[in-house]
Amino acid sequence: MAGRVLEAALQLLDRQLVDKHGRLAGKVDDLELTFPEGGGPPQVTAILAGPGALSRRLGGRFGARLEAVANRLREGDDDHPARVPFAVVAEIGSAIGLGVAKAELETDRLEAWTRDHLIGRLPGAGDAPD
C-alpha cells in the first residue's frame, strides 16, 4: 500500500514544533537524512532545529558566525545542531506535533543554558515567578 506523500521543503521545513503539552519547541530548520545499512534511498531520521541547523541555510559569513555562537552557548564540546529524532513525531500538519515534553528535547539546550548561566545570575532573578 502506498504511504503518505509529503514534499519536504513545502510541508516540513520552517514548520513549528509543538510538544505534547502544546508548548512551542522550535522550528524545523533542516532534516537529517540517513542511508539505510542495507542500501536503498535515504530516510528521514531526525528534525534539526536551532541556530546550529539554520546557520547552514543562511550561509555566508553571517551563517558561520551564527553557528560559532550557537556552538559556544552549549554544554560540552559537541558541535552538532539540536536533533529531534523522528521517532518522537506524533503528527504532521500545519505544525509538527511531538509526543514528548519540550524539556526532554535537545532544542531546549540553548534556552536552558541561557536561563542557568545568564538570566539566573541577574540580581533578583530568584524572585521571578515561574
Binding site: 504511504g3 509529503l6 521543503a9 530516510q43 547552514r56
Partner: protein, 113 residues
C-alpha cells in the same frame, strides 16, 4: 546528509547537461517503523526545474487549486518542472547531483496520491 544538501543543488545528466536545480524533495511514508510516528519517511525523488517560484508555492503539484490568476501564473512558471526518481541518482557532490540517463527523459512531477 541533510535535506539542505539536496535543496538548491544543480542536477546534471550523464551528458553533463543541467536539468535545473532541486526545488523540493518528495518523501513517502512507507519505510520501516520508527517509534510512535509509524512508518519512516523515505526519499522518493527530487522535484527539479529552472524556475523556483511555482514549486515554492506548491504549484508543482497538479492538484493545487486557485486562486485562478495565481494558478495560471504558476502554471506557466512550473512548465519546466521535472521529477527525478531517487533510483536515477548516481552521485551527490556539494551543490551538484549526477543522475543517470538524459535530462530529456525526466517526467513531470506527478500529483501526490
Amino acid at each position: 546528509m541533510r535535506l539542505t544538501d539536496l535543496l538548491g543543488a544543480e542536477v546534471v545528466d550523464q551528458a553533463g547537461r543541467s536539468a535545473g536545480k532541486v526545488h523540493d524533495v518528495r518523501l513517502v511514508q512507507d519505510g520501516p517503523l520508527v517509534g510512535g510516528f509509524g512508518a519512516a519517511l523515505r526519499v522518493d525523488g527530487l522535484i527539479v526545474g529552472r524556475r523556483a517560484v511555482g514549486a515554492r508555492l506548491g504549484y508543482e503539484r497538479r492538484t493545487m487549486g486557485g486562486p485562478l490568476l495565481v494558478k495560471l501564473a504558476a502554471g506557466w512558471l512550473r512548465h519546466d518542472g521535472r521529477y527525478v526518481a531517487w533510483d536515477r541518482v548516481r552521485a551527490i557532490e556539494p551543490d551538484r547531483i549526477h543522475i543517470s540517463g538524459s535530462a530529456d527523459d525526466l517526467p513531470r512531477p506527478a500529483a501526490p496520491q
